[in-house]
């Protein structure tokens, strides 16, 4: 069973990322705060006796459910269905060779010469905007896998899909992001 300190430390470590993820999904900062608070309360109320090691997966699952509940409450089910129908992506990824872009990359994300005047904050804002524009399942897979640092199996369990689907979603998300960021003069 996780101690109170373990639970507190865990919530502290995930709350900011959880809020950002909720913002990407619902595009409303106040609603995202409500979703994260609801998630933390559900976790603390229903699973206070779970071991600390189980908290990350439980939290991600509850956060996904809380986000879906928000969409249901907002009566935008049609929009959710439309977003989910975009899982497979536009199918034009093959036209864009990520290796071509990535081979030229060496260090951390930086602006190209044409965008050198763009501030760091603006770059981050652009990246966030592009992440938010990803199809819902691609974004979820990408964030769980690379931001929350879950492995493929854990991501699949959290999303309720196969490991193969997770790999596909992640790959498509990476290609879409690389293409969109390169178009805006940002490379990594």
């Amino acid at each position: 069973m996780a101690t109170e300190k373990e639970l507190s430390d865990f919530l502290k470590s995930v709350e900011k990322r959880a809020w950002k993820r909720a913002v990407y999904a619902v595009r409303d900062e106040d609603a995202a705060l409500d979703i994260v608070q609801d998630t933390m309360i559900r976790l603390a109320e229903k699973y206070p006796d779970r071991p600390a090691a189980e908290l990350p997966l439980l939290f991600q699952r509850i956060l996904s459910n809380a986000t879906m509940d928000w969409f249901r409450r907002q009566k935008v089910k049609n929009q959710v269905v439309r977003n989910f129908s975009e899982y497979e992506g536009s199918g034009d990824d093959s036209e864009f060779d990520i290796l071509e872009t990535l081979e030229a990359l060496g260090g951390p994300l930086q602006s190209e010469s044409a965008a050198e005047s763009v501030s760091r904050a603006q770059i981050l804002q652009t990246i966030e905007a592009e992440v938010a524009l990803l199809p819902a399942r691609q974004r979820e897979a990408f964030l769980l896998r690379y931001w929350e640092e879950l492995d493929v199996a854990e991501t699949a369990a959290s999303m309720g899909c196969s490991e193969g689907s997770v790999k596909t979603h992640c790959s498509r998300a990476v290609h879409a992001l690389a293409k969109a960021l390169k178009a805006k003069g940002i490379t990594s």
Binding site: E4, S8, L33, Q37, I41, E45, L99, P108, V174
Partner: protein, 143 residues
Amino acid sequence: MKLDDRTYRDAARAASEARFARAVAACLSESADRLSPDVAERLRFGREKALELARSSRGEAVGVTASGAAIAGFGRSPWWLRFASVLPLVALVGGLVMIQNWQTRTQISVAAEIDEALLGDDLPINAYRDPGFAEFLKAPPSE
């Protein structure tokens, strides 16, 4: 040979994707660390509320377990705890007995006062005209 090339290309591609994804994730973390104080405060409030709920639900769970064990007669609670749980029942029974006793004494006391008032008062003159009373006076004392 072709297979090796393909495997190598796939691995390189996967590594490039992972490197790019981690760079993006690092930027997202950097952005998340730049939250406004208002948002950070509201997140802290939510966290503390959740921890409070966790504390209370853990307490309830412990309470339910302890009372369940006591009712079922299980558990190894100390003697004074068992004695303390019986104490209210003993106090209730004792109180009821005392109330009953006090009520009986009050009734006896009221009856005695009435008898005393009757016996101590003057006998009305009409009482001697009552045949029953005359018979009572003529009859020898029973003791």
